[in-house]
């Protein structure tokens, strides 16, 4: 389709792409050769920094800059690929890993060159069993072909890669919790600072990047930063694989340039809501982003900065659409329950706040809440935001807070007074 700009998905439907033979036939691993044989680590780092590639995992921090924070010097440095894609609504990494694992591995090897990392891990979500097996096989192939090992392409640099399966906690997608989990501890976020770039895995400097971010690296190296910047907007260069799901006719992953109209993504690519329905609202960046109503959101361009301006965020680039048949109160409860279940319990506001919010929303859906309860729900979300150790608490508080603000009348309809008046009417 014309609206799509395929870089990561260029050969995505090629049969047998997961094998190194097909991948190499289509020009794969050329970037690694270039990065290791023609370029110095500083040049690779410079190229990545120059490209302006922003992290695709949620925070949108510049990847090159992050890599440059790692101290120089001779020590064990780590690179972790965050493949713990657990955000409700996000399934882009799954497709990237399942269909094109070597693109990711190539990206990791390049990023390892830039950061000077010698020990790499792919922390993959435990539920992605098939994808884990595919990666395992691909890593084996890459070792066999000499792209991984103690001596990459004869340059003497060591890059070792291990695929590690997570144990099923959402929080392990948070980078420091991922590190704890990888070390064999309970997956709880760590206090920052120290940041992982300084003191991460096993106390060593660690670079952590998302699957999609790393998958971009081979393309930047082979075609250059300038080429990469020709896509997308000035502040968000490149393309983005967007997972569109919910009340749309053709849910799926679509790779678009950053900055395309959101309307194009939802209505044209994903086919819009079922016939006769209209978009009531949507999460622009996974379940942790504040919801946008259909009216305000559809006209925005889909980019990091536009979403931030609108009070939401692009996050992992996962659009969940809901039409007018969906009750926002139910949606809020479903969202809150997810975060309540996934809260690790380390810090107070998140642990108790998610629990309290669920209890209040449950009461609301049962029609037992008083008007004060809605005020308390809103106030509890405010009490959570900005007070937590990691972003999980905020991830619940922001969408729920936005729902209460933007769809207040739906919440009011569930109040106890309403159920009384309904009962009175029935009588």
């Amino acid at each position: 389709m014309a609206a799509e700009t395929r870089i990561l998905f260029r050969n995505i439907d090629e049969p047998g792409l997961a094998s190194i033979r097909t991948y190499r036939r289509l020009g794969g691993y050329e970037a690694v050769k270039k990065a290791y044989q023609e370029m110095e680590p500083e040049q690779v780092l410079h190229e990545l920094e120059e490209s302006g590639l922003r992290g695709r995992g949620g925070a949108g921090f510049s990847m090159g800059k992050k890599a440059s924070f790692l101290p120089r010097g001779d020590m064990d440095k780590y690179l972790c690929c965050n493949a713990d894609e657990s955000e409700p609504g996000a399934f882009k990494d799954r497709e990237l890993m399942q269909k094109n694992p070597h693109q990711l591995i190539e990206g990791i090897i390049i990023a390892a060159r830039a950061a000077g990392a010698n020990r790499c891990f792919i922390f993959i979500r435990g539920e992605y069993d098939l994808q884990g097996d595919i990666l395992d096989a691909a890593v084996e192939e890459a070792y066999g072909a000499g792209y991984l090992g103690t001596d990459v392409l004869g340059t003497g640099q060591q890059v070792k890669l291990v695929v590690h399966r997570g144990a099923g906690a959402y929080i392990c997608g948070e980078e420091t919790a991922l590190l704890d989990s990888l070390e064999g501890k309970r997956g709880n976020p760590r206090l920052k600072p120290p940041f992982p770039a300084v003191q991460g895995l096993y106390g060593g400097p660690t670079l952590i990047n998302n699957v999609e971010t790393l998958s971009n690296a081979p393309h930047i190296i082979s075609s250059g930063a300038e080429w990469f910047k020709s896509f997308g907007t000035e502040q968000s260069p490149g393309t983005k694989v967007v997972s569109v799901s919910g009340d749309v006719q053709r849910p799926g992953n679509y790779e678009v340039e950053l900055g395309v109209p959101t309307k194009l993504l939802i209505n044209d690519l994903a086919g819009g809501p079922p016939k006769g329905h209209k978009v009531k609202g949507f999460f622009p960046g996974g379940s942790s982003s504040p919801v946008l109503t259909g009216d305000e959101g559809m006209k925005l361009p889909y980019s990091f900065e536009a979403m931030q301006e609108a009070g939401s965020m692009l996050g992992s680039g996962s659009i969940i659409v809901f039409d007018e048949t969906t009750s926002v109160v139910d949606l809020a409860l479903r969202t809150a329950r997810f975060y309540h279940h996934e809260s690790c319990g380390k810090c107070t506001p998140c642990r108790e706040g998610t629990n309290w919010t669920v209890k209040m929303l449950e009461r609301l859906t049962r029609g037992e809440a008083t008007p004060m309860d809605i005020e308390v729900i809103a106030s509890v979300q405010e009490n959570i935001i900005g007070h937590c150790l990691c972003v999980l608490g905020d991830s619940m508080a922001m969408p729920i807070g936005a729902m209460v603000k933007k769809y207040r009348s739906e919440f009011d309809d569930k109040l106890i007074s309403q159920s009384y008046s309904a009962a009175a009417k029935a009588a």
Binding site: A169, G345, N355, I384, H387
Partner: protein, 841 residues
């Protein structure tokens, strides 16, 4: 690395100029300006902050988000606000969140009145909760261990106890189960949390979730008085606080002293207060009547009886001072003996420490402070098991390894609990200490030592790691004195390392008895008088024993000493005590008082007034906290009265007078008074008196180690070790009785295989017809050809078999392990039954 120098940093908190050392966290820095920032999870003793409770959020200029003050190090010129509406909003929010699932059952909660959650909820909370839904419920209270109850509803999940278990005591038993608001603290499979330091978690808990069964519901903070003292049950000499209600000690708490205990206490010290008011205590003087029973008598009669006995013996008298004896008492004892009876036979330990070596080792240049361990580059633990002999030292060493990355080296006969964290752990056979240390001295290049023995390889590895940095600390056990030549080699090692040239690094001895160093320094050593001054050489402990048997020594005064139990050769001691006039100053009936002609009641460490000396030379005060029960008199007074009856008029009416006279007599204690000791103690090496230390003049004494083996059998070589719980304290405190252990024969897997023994088998271990019953325990980190037994047990004491160095044992299987399992005495059953026992109550 040496102690880092920290510059002063000035910052602005709430408009006040606050100056604090750099690296300080904001919470601590705020205290310098009298500003309190509330915290729950932050506890500097536990190491790195975790920032879990979010109570300490503050606003820092230039940072948009609120920051946790517990994890933010101060910077010069930073501006911090702790009172703004934003900060108050956050504090109110966190308190409200914390109280959502807290049961608020303060009236029945043991922590009520001394609860940080109560205080912070009052001071920083919103005053009321908007939470109307049902709270989280758990079954409660449950025994976490026989000594600690856990109430999971009250828990605010601050992680303190879990961090203690994981990172301080490193027993790694406590974990957090489940996630989110369903999290709870527990152990794997709900097994009882049994570890030597676990009582500390009750003190760490900021709410009433972890409470001691021994203190449960006993008193409220307004019912009690806190009194500071020093625990004299082991050489750690931890600073403690007794909680006293109605003149009875109800609880022991740690009193932070970074130079001694770092704020921790072991369970032995924490739960041993019950014996103070025990019904079993000896509370009046007793004299053995004609029919062999002890009958209570008046003090006057008892003292005249003692005086008569000692006068009869005259120069053939002897004294054994035990670990609980204070410096003052020790000094009076040696004066009584040396001046009153003109006898030189006094000793304070079983090791046979040689006076000239002790004097050399006491040099301020060689000694190390406790605090030095925190900055050591390498720590060598030499033939001692800190966990058993000086428990707090174990935590201190673990701290050094974990936080500052010190290299830990262990060289011991018996497998050590520190082996796991050690960079190098080596074993040597009992009696081979001198060879190993000699090899080490050779590897370090000490003159006069040759490097050719079987230990050369091990020694080289240790020597290399010891030289990793300029500041090594060597922790060694007094047991080394038992092997001739070992301490000389140790001194050679110290000199080869240049320890005596540098301030800071040095040797730290783990004495065999609680006040071992103090007693030696005040003159309870054959061959050295007060101040380690050379004097007439007398008999050491083993010499006293032999002298008693062959009639050379006719009277023995035991001061809180129980040689039958703690000294090698129990049977020989029994024979010795039975054949002479024995006076015992004791708290309880013990195997040695059974032979005493006169028994005088002893003060406990909660009743005594006096000073003790820490192994690093720190003098500390033992203060009376509870009244002496019954007819008990201060031992100082008793000894003075005894001297008066023997015709010595001393004019020392009370403890301060004795202290003054003692510090006059011990030259390097000069100028020390109650005031200079104060609440935290003082090292004599750091006073003017210590700096004027000079080398000893002459006076070499010849206390050789144990005599060569009486019989060289063919069996395993016998080794003995001290066990933390193999002591009278365990038996006299109902709370600790569940820890009373049986004898175990520890052998290497290879020996077990050749002898056809399995874990848990019952065996009879015998030497020359004397035997003890034991169960087999197979230890992997042991040398083959050696069998280890624990010393100091009430029954089947390992000491009974010790008969000079190189004793060999015969092992005979009496019952297979399955038989014990069937009788419910299997190893697994023993551990699990503890839960039900909950003996404390």
């Amino acid at each position: 690395m040496s102690q880092p120098i920290r510059n002063a940093v000035t910052l602005n908190i709430d408009g006040r100029e606050v100056t604090a050392p750099e690296g300080t966290m904001l919470v601590d820095a705020a205290k310098h300006g009298d500003i309190e920032i509330p915290v729950f999870c932050y506890e500097p003793k536990l190491g790195e902050p975790v920032g879990a409770c979010r109570m300490c959020l503050v606003e820092i200029e230039g940072i948009p988000k609120l920051q946790t003050a517990c994890s933010t190090p101060i910077r010069d010129g930073m501006t911090v606000y702790t009172q703004t509406d934003r900060v108050k909003g956050a504090q109110n929010a966190v308190v409200e969140f914390l109280l959502i699932n807290h049961p608020l059952d303060c009236p029945v909660c043991d922590k009520g009145g001394e609860c940080p959650l109560q205080d912070i909820a009052m001071g920083w909370g919103p005053g009321k909760s908007r939470f109307t839904d049902p709270k989280r419920h758990f079954q409660k209270p449950l025994p976490l261990s026989p000594l600690v109850a856990i109430d999971r509803e009250r828990c605010i999940l601050c992680y303190r106890c879990v961090r203690f278990s994981q990172e301080i005591s490193e027993d790694e038993q406590l974990v957090l189960h489940e996630r989110g608001d369903r999290s709870f603290v527990g152990t794997f499979d709900d097994r009882p949390y049994i570890a030597p330091f676990h009582g500390n978690i009750t003190e760490l808990c900021p709410v009433g979730a972890l409470t001691s069964y021994t203190y449960r519901f006993r008193a409220r903070p307004w019912d009690i008085e806190d009194a500071g003292s020093v625990c004299t049950l082991c050489p750690s000499q931890c600073n403690v606080k007794f909680t006293v209600r109605d003149e009875r000690a109800l609880r022991v708490l740690a009193r932070d002293n970074e130079d001694v205990d770092d704020g921790w206490l072991c369970d032995k010290g924490r739960y041993s207060f019950q014996m103070l008011a025990s019904e079993e205590r000896i509370t009046e003087p007793m004299v053995r009547a004609g029919d062999g029973t002890l009958a209570p008598v008046s003090w006057e009669e008892a003292i005249s009886k003692v005086a008569a006995g000692l006068r009869d013996a005259g120069t053939a008298s002897a004294v054994l001072a035990g670990g609980g004896t204070s410096n003052e008492e020790g000094w009076l004892l040696q004066r009584l003996l040396r001046e009153g009876l003109s006898s030189p036979n006094i000793d304070s330990s079983a090791s046979g420490a040689r006076a000239d070596l002790v004097r050399e080792l006491s040099s301020p240049a060689l000694g190390s402070r406790m605090r030095e361990l925190d900055y050591a580059d390498a720590i060598l633990v030499l033939d001692t098991e800190p966990l058993n002999e000086m428990p707090i030292l174990d935590l201190r060493i673990r701290k050094a390894v974990r936080r500052t990355g010190a290299q830990l080296l262990v060289a011991s006969e018996h497998p050590s609990s520190l082996d796991g964290g050690a960079a190098e752990a080596v074993r040597f056979a009992p009696g081979e200490a001198a060879e190993l240390i000699g090899a080490l001295a050779a590897a370090l290049g000490a003159p006069g030592y040759e490097d050719d023995g079987p230990h050369a390889e091990k020694a080289k590895a240790i020597a290399e790691l010891l030289r990793t940095g300029p500041d090594p600390v060597i922790v060694w056990g007094e047991r080394l004195f038992r092997t001739p030549g070992a301490v000389e080699a140790l001194l050679a090692c110290a000199k080869a390392l240049g320890i005596d040239k540098r301030l800071g690094p040095g040797l730290l001895e783990v004495p065999e008895s609680a006040n071992g160093r103090g007693l030696r320094e005040v003159g309870c050593l054959p061959g050295a008088g007060p101040g380690l001054a050379p004097t007439q050489t007398g008999a050491a402990a083993s010499g006293i024993r032999d002298g008693m048997v062959n009639g050379e020594i006719k009277a023995l005064l035991l001061s809180e000493a129980d040689p039958v139990r703690t000294h090698p050769g129990s049977e020989a001691w029994r024979k010795a005590l039975a054949s002479t006039f024995v006076v015992s100053i004791a708290m309880f009936d013990d195997p040695s008082t059974a032979y005493a002609n006169v028994v005088l009641p002893a003060e406990s460490h909660a009743e005594k007034e006096g000073t003790v000396t820490h192994p690093d030379g720190r003098l500390q005060r033992v203060r009376p906290n509870v009244p002496r029960p019954g007819q008990i008199r201060p031992t100082c007074q008793v000894l003075t009265d005894l001297a008066a009856t023997l015709g010595q008029t001393w004019d020392l009416p009370d403890q301060p007078a004795v202290l003054a006279a003692m510090t006059d007599d011990v030259d390097f204690y000069a100028g020390i008074s109650d005031e200079t000791i104060g609440g935290q103690g003082v090292r004599w090496q750091e006073l003017a008196s210590g700096r004027s230390w000079g080398p000893a003049v002459g006076g070499r004494t010849d206390n050789q180690g144990d005599p060569p083996p009486a019989s060289a059998g063919s069996g395993l070589l016998l080794g003995t070790y001290r066990d933390l719980w193999a002591s009278e304290v365990t038996e006299r405190n109902p709370a600790l009785r569940f820890l009373k252990r049986g004898q175990m024969l520890e052998i290497a897997p290879k020996d077990a295989e050749t002898m056809g023994l399995e874990n848990g088998d019952g065996v009879r271990v015998s030497v020359n017809g004397t035997s003890v019953e034991a169960r087999v325990a197979i230890r992997t980190r042991m040398e083959a050809g050696v069998g280890f037994l624990a010393e100091g047990l009430a029954e089947n004491n390992g000491n009974a078999l010790v008969n000079g160095a190189g004793t060999r044992i015969e092992v005979e299987k009496t019952a297979p392990a399955a038989e014990f399992e069937a009788a419910g005495m299997g190893q697994k059953a023993t551990v699990l039954s503890l839960e039900g026992e909950a003996a404390a109550r």
